[in-house]
Symmetry: C2
Subunit: 158 residues, 2 copies
DNA sequence: GAGAATTACTTCATATCTAAAATATTGACA
DNA sequence: TGTCAATATTTTAGATATGAAGTAATTCTC
């Protein structure tokens, strides 16, 4: 392949990456908007609050603020605000961390667990409905590709 | 397949959809965070501003506020705020729409076009770097899958 | 073991973002 | 042609977001 041919190919690849990123973002935003609207309508809550509760649900021993921040891919200041809101609503609680007096251990309250359980069932059904029509084979392929991409990005951006 | 078997399979599929969505969101957020930081560091600007300018770059005749809102997948009120900021910075301009006195036609200024051209080159190189290490074949496959998904979601959510 | 660097968290200023209400203009239609 | 729903935009209140600065506790290091 000559120099011009190579340049052309590289340029095309560049545009491929860009287009890939834009499509990824669009798909993500389309789903996010649907879920946000459904959460607001059916449960009077928001996506970040649901996300935070979902993180806690998977960690019954509780999570530190910093750990929540890392898992949710948002800054610490942001987590403070969301935790404040959920705590005010009685859905989660800050408990003292026995090993580190700087840190909290944030946990779901009993009411929080009950509320989340209800929302999680509905949430899953919304997602299933959104993907309904995409073949299981295609979904599995996408799932696998995105796992690879996530691994790649995590390594690259950490 | 008996009833129990079918239930099991359906449940597994449900979890597949959910996991697919979470991976999509994570990948999207990881890239978004990188791009946001790079835009802030190198160009003292933000992702929504860059996005809005990118939309205008592709539409030399200008776009109405509502059209920007639809293309960016955000609400109209949000667009008002971002346009205000960019206009204050002299990068875009609201011009009267000759056919509709309710509407503006938002356009890049000459300075806006110049500024965007510089940013776009860098932006593309960041994206290429982020995907560097994922094979071209894999990127194309993902690209194709996401196009399908986008089409599917657009139909489903409109 | 005292001082320095690090870590965990909050606070602050500012920029997005949404949903809903308000304003102005357009277009359809009886 | 007057009325009235629909459309284009802005404004408002409130919830997320970020980055940076501040406070408190821990850990590293000599």
């Amino acid at each position: 392949m000559n120099a011009v041919g190579k340049d052309t190919r590289l340029t095309a690849d560049h545009h491929d990456s860009l287009r890939l990123w834009l499509r990824l973002l669009t798909c993500s935003n389309l789903i996010e908007n649907q879920v946000r609207k459904a959460l607001a309508k059916q449960f009077k809550t928001t996506l970040p609050r649901f996300d935070l509760m979902a993180q806690l649900e998977r960690a019954p021993q509780g999570l530190q603020m910093g750990e929540l921040s890392r898992r949710m891919l948002v800054t610490g200041g942001n987590v403070t605000g969301i935790v404040d809101q959920l705590e005010r609503a009685g859905l989660i609680a800050r408990t003292a961390d026995p090993d580190d007096r700087r840190a909290y251990r944030v946990k779901l309250t009993k009411e929080g667990r009950r509320a989340f359980a209800k929302m999680a069932v509905e949430h899953e059904s919304w997602i299933v409905k959104l993907f309904d029509g995409i073949s299981v084979r295609e979904q599995r392929a996408l799932n696998e590709s995105l796992l690879q991409l996530r691994t790649h990005l995590t390594r690259k951006t950490s």
